[in-house]
């Protein structure tokens, strides 16, 4: 029996990683991170909070950053972890859970998939 072979197109992958749709998705994901970083920012003069903003960048792929360019951003981060904590707002791939089908097969699936498969059967 013939074996299938998968060959990745490097140019295609690079184009995908720089695709405007990928950048748009990253920007959408970073919006709640920005909001969380701003709402969690300690305020003394307000300079640190006001300095937090989104940066569009490229490192061979689309990159979106939430940064503070305040001179005391590192001190605030060391003392509060404000930006690190805000990262959870980006979400990510849904975690894969173990699921056993009715016929006994074991599968990895997201909670949404499991809910869909078992809808009306509980």
């Amino acid at each position: 029996m013939a074996k299938a072979k998968v060959v990745l197109s490097r140019a295609g992958m690079k184009a995908l990683l720089n695709d405007p749709g990928v950048r748009a998705d990253l920007t959408r994901r970073m919006a709640p991170v920005l909001a969380a970083a701003q709402s969690g920012a300690p305020v003394v003069s307000g300079d640190y909070k006001a300095s937090i903003h989104l940066v569009q960048a490229s490192t061979g792929r689309a990159v979106v950053r939430v940064v503070s360019d305040s001179p005391y951003a590192m001190s605030v981060e060391a003392s509060t972890g404000n930006l690190a904590r805000a990262l959870d707002g980006a979400g990510g791939a849904a975690p894969l859970l173990n699921y056993t089908t009715k016929s006994g097969k074991k599968r990895k699936a997201t909670q949404a998939q499991i809910s869909n498969w078992t809808r009306g059967k509980r």
């Binding site: 005391y72 590192m74 001190s75 060391a78 690190a84 990262l87 959870d88 975690p95 859970l97």
Partner: protein
């Protein structure tokens, strides 16, 4: 279908307990009298290491990814640098699967302006949960 009931360890407690014991077992002068905790006591000990959990998501049924921020204080620049290097080395060697499975350094020691020498670094720990069933 019922998913297993899995609870994750208190990462701050796990890491501070580990570092406290590991530092106490070292013989280097700069590891003597190091206080390890989650808060900065008043007055601040001369040599202090604090560990703070900064979020991090659950990865799957059994594992979570915990971000931690580690601050190191000491009386001199050299002492702080040495202690930070030791804490960094100890964290890198922490994974044994119970419960820390993997350690990734997000940022190495960086100096932080303070009244005494202070360094800050961040890590991501993959930790294993316990089945409560």
């Amino acid at each position: 279908m019922t998913l297993p009931l899995v609870i994750f360890p208190d990462v701050e407690l796990t890491v501070t307990t580990y570092l406290r014991a590991a530092l106490a077992a070292r013989s280097e002068a700069y590891t003597t009298g190091v206080k390890v905790g989650v808060n900065v006591p008043n007055p601040r000990p001369v040599r202090l290491v604090t560990v703070r959990r900064d979020g991090g998501p659950r990865l799957d049924v059994a594992r979570e990814s915990a971000r931690i921020g580690v601050n190191v204080w000491a009386a001199t620049d050299q002492d702080a640098a040495d202690l930070a290097r030791m804490v960094r080395a100890l964290l890198w060697s922490a994974p044994n699967g119970a419960p820390i499975c993997k350690v990734t350094e997000l940022s190495g020691p960086s100096p932080i302006p303070d009244d005494v020498p202070r360094l800050y670094m961040t890590f991501e720990l993959v930790v294993r949960g316990s089945d409560l069933a």
